[in-house]
């Protein structure tokens, strides 16, 4: 866990891009399975426990089986056909694809989410502005905006209560939510406007600025990138050697 906190938050973002592009090139069970196994070893050796992995990547644990099932039922049939219910056809080909897609979602998504979820927005902003050299006005405005999310949560509660108090909650759920959402939007715009004034009053928006905290790259960032390259190369290498590499451009 500690290890991830010491790399610059920009590095996992770059690493995620470096990793997902080659991994997206193929749909096969071997690449995904090798990558997943490699990540399991990496996580275990740097002390990222299964609880953390599940907590950060749980949406994928739902999404992966869903995409696998839809492949299983609706992929273009080929090979032996095992079952057929109306439009759904389960064939050799669809079973293979379902497995590959399910694993692929996990292989690409899990390590990415584990690395990116829980990144401290303040450190990320420091990194994006100082290391990635994104325009600081944009980065800081976005950072200040993230603080408003918590405030807007409370606003939403108050708005919902206030609407009930005024006898306005008897319409359907959809209409009610839309109206409350609009009220929240108005409040959010006003909060945004005031925030902009407060920022401007503190001298925000000038051409030059310094940073109270330096955001730098260190050897750990290099290790992370090398690690990602190594996992990618191993997964694709094994898949090519085993002859199961199945590029997306050759059609599913």
């Amino acid at each position: 866990m500690r290890a991830l906190e010491r790399v610059n938050p920009v590095t996992p973002i770059v690493a995620a891009v470096l990793y997902s592009i080659p991994m997206l090139l193929t749909i096969d069970v071997v690449t995904a399975a090798v990558a997943l196994a490699a990540w399991a070893i990496v996580f275990a050796s740097v002390g990222i426990g299964p609880r953390t992995v599940v907590r950060r990547s749980w949406p994928l644990l739902v999404a992966a089986p869903l995409s696998a099932v839809s492949m299983l039922l609706y992929a273009e049939p080929a090979g032996r056909i095992h079952a057929q219910i109306w439009l759904a056809v389960i064939s050799d080909r669809s079973i293979e694809l379902a497995l590959a897609i399910g694993l692929r979602v996990l292989a690409i998504g899990v390590p990415t989410l584990v690395a990116l979820v829980g990144v401290d927005p303040t450190r990320l902003a420091d990194g994006l502005a100082q290391v990635a050299r994104l325009p600081h006005r944009f980065v800081l405005a976005a950072l200040a905006g993230t603080r408003l999310f918590g405030v807007l949560g409370e606003d939403w509660r108050q708005i919902s209560l206030a609407r009930r108090a005024r006898g306005l909650g008897d319409t359907g759920v959809v209409r009610r939510s839309l109206q409350a959402a609009f009220a929240l939007l108005v409040v959010a715009l006003r909060r945004g406007g005031t925030l902009a004034t407060a920022m401007e009053a503190r001298g925000f928006g000038g051409p030059e600025r310094t940073w109270a905290r330096q955001s730098t790259l260190g050897w750990r960032d290099g290790v992370l990138v090398l690690l990602v390259v190594a996992v990618t190369a191993t997964a694709l290498g094994v898949s090519l050697a085993a002859g199961s590499f199945s590029p997306v451009w050759e059609g599913a």
């Binding site: 005024r166 004034t197 407060a198 009053a201 940073w211 905290r213």
Partner: protein, 480 residues
């Protein structure tokens, strides 16, 4: 460091799209290091002047500027960091998620070298007496702490001019003193020029050495030492909404015998997410009687009020509506009523009026609840007109609620809740941040609801004057 010099000659500002300037023909000189309390009735342009001095009034598309306004010989918007501004709403002053970052933000923008930033940050936090960790989340701060944090962020920039726009209006009495004392210390330490806008004069008298009163429509109505100005102008200032020391407020009551109980709380514990925030409460809410709920910050007053009002489920114990209030509704617990059943029986005025607004015009805002109840057009029109007239909002009937002043918004939120004529009114800090005039109007209105209409009122307040006038019964909550 020395303070800034302010010079205004024939200065004025007209917001884009408004028919008249908010400020016109202002001539004013403030010497370096002076500490000025800026007074004037609502709408005299106090906040506009502060925003202009802070250089955040906006460009040509926001409005038209006339005359000359200089801070240390330069137009305030031409140089960053000349002046620091603290706004009224504590929430609005917080920019970053960590205390240290929030204070450092201004220094970074002024391109102060990194090594110097952190020493400035620590010094500023010491100066305002905010002894918390630099990594502390700003979300966890109280209102008074937030305002002192904002002040720290300002003084870390070392401005020659510190501008405070009603910095204590939204704070409880403890917070008010914290912030006032911090400002006094900072002003003495830095020698910066200070301009404060605030209705509550007494709070700031120990800090300021000059009082300037703006005249509505333009110019300066009075200017001089606090003593001299307040002696001569006490009456007109009070009439204009300023809380002048020595002129207490009062509202006459014509109490009658209390009527039947409408709501009964038995061993009631309220809170959020199953966690009670106060000790069990037994209390009855009776027709023709006002119940004042008071207690320190965080004692759970607002949560209790929302629970009594049928908006939050109790964490323990129960709230029962008597058959007198229920009428033909079967459920005893107001929290189980449908919204329409609730609105015609218990009305709630929230702390922040903005959360209540649903319409684009003041008139529609008042009508919204009545229309939802299916009342006829003629009835809605008559009721809305009567309420707008009673609350002096009739001239604003077609204005957008969000563009109203704080006092007007508060009166409108009361009007919307009164529209369906509930027998119980629950008000959360109805006088928070209000000027003297709005205070009197609101308290008079609440008193007449109780005394003339036989309503039951539950008022959550920090305000000792409200407690004195409306406290037919007082419930004091301690911290849990």
């Amino acid at each position: 460091m020395t303070g800034s010099r302010i010079r205004a000659r024939g200065w004025g500002w007209q917001h884009a799209g408004r028919p008249a300037p908010v400020l016109a023909g202002l001539d004013l000189d403030v010497e370096p290091g002076e500490r000025v309390l800026l007074l004037g009735p609502s709408g005299a342009g106090k906040s506009t002047l502060l925003a202009a001095l802070a250089g955040v009034l906006g460009g040509d598309e926001e409005g038209d500027e006339a005359g000359e306004l200089l801070v240390d010989g330069a137009h305030p918007s031409s140089r960053r960091g000349l002046a620091g501004l603290v706004l009224q709403d504590p929430q609005a002053n917080t920019i970053m998620s960590r205390v240290g970052d929030d204070v450092a933000f201004g220094c970074e923008n002024l391109a102060v070298p990194r090594e110097e930033i952190w020493s400035r940050v620590r010094a500023a936090l010491v100066a305002v007496g905010l002894d918390v960790d630099l990594d502390r989340s700003t979300a966890a701060l109280s209102g008074g702490q937030r305002q002192r944090l904002a002040l720290a962020g300002v003084i870390a920039m070392r401005p020659g001019l510190i501008l405070l726009d009603e910095p204590t209006a939204n704070l409880d009495p403890v917070g008010v003193v914290e912030v006032r004392d911090a400002v006094a210390r900072v002003a003495a330490d830095t020698g910066a020029t200070l301009v404060v806008v605030e209705h509550r004069v007494e709070t700031w008298l120990p800090v300021v050495d000059r009082v300037v009163v703006l005249a509505p429509g333009g110019g300066v109505a009075a200017d001089g030492s606090p003593h001299a100005v307040l002696e001569v102008h006490a009456e007109p200032l009070a009439a204009g909404g300023v809380w002048v020391p020595g002129l207490p407020v009062d509202v006459a009551r014509e109490r009658r015998a209390s009527g039947p109980a409408l709501l009964v709380a038995d061993g009631l514990r309220s809170g959020r997410a199953d966690e009670a925030v106060h000790e069990p409460v037994d209390v009855g809410v009776r027709a023709g009687e006002a119940l004042v709920v008071t207690g320190p910050n965080g004692a759970g007053k607002s949560t209790l009020a929302l629970t009594l009002a049928g908006l939050l489920p109790p964490v323990g114990g129960e709230v029962r509506a008597t058959s007198e209030l229920r009428g033909d509704v079967a459920a005893e617990a107001p929290v189980r009523w449908r919204p329409k059943q609730l609105a015609t029986r218990i009305g709630t005025v929230f702390q922040q009026p903005e959360h209540q607004f649903v319409a684009a015009r003041v008139r529609d805002e008042v009508a919204a609840g009545l229309r939802a109840l299916g009342r006829g057009d003629a009835e809605v029109r008559d009721r809305v007109d009567a309420l707008l007239a009673a609350l002096r909002l009739d001239h604003l009937a077609d204005v957008n609620p969000f563009t109203l002043s704080g006092g007007e918004q508060r009166r409108l939120s009361v009007a919307t809740v009164l529209a369906p004529a509930p027998r119980v009114m629950v008000l959360d800090e109805p006088t928070f941040g209000q000027d003297r005039r709005t205070w009197q109007e609101l308290v008079r209105l609440i008193a007449s609801l109780v005394d003339d209409d036989g309503c039951a009122v539950v008022a959550v307040t920090h305000d000792a004057d409200v407690e004195r006038v409306l406290g037919d019964r007082v419930l004091r909550l301690g911290a849990a």
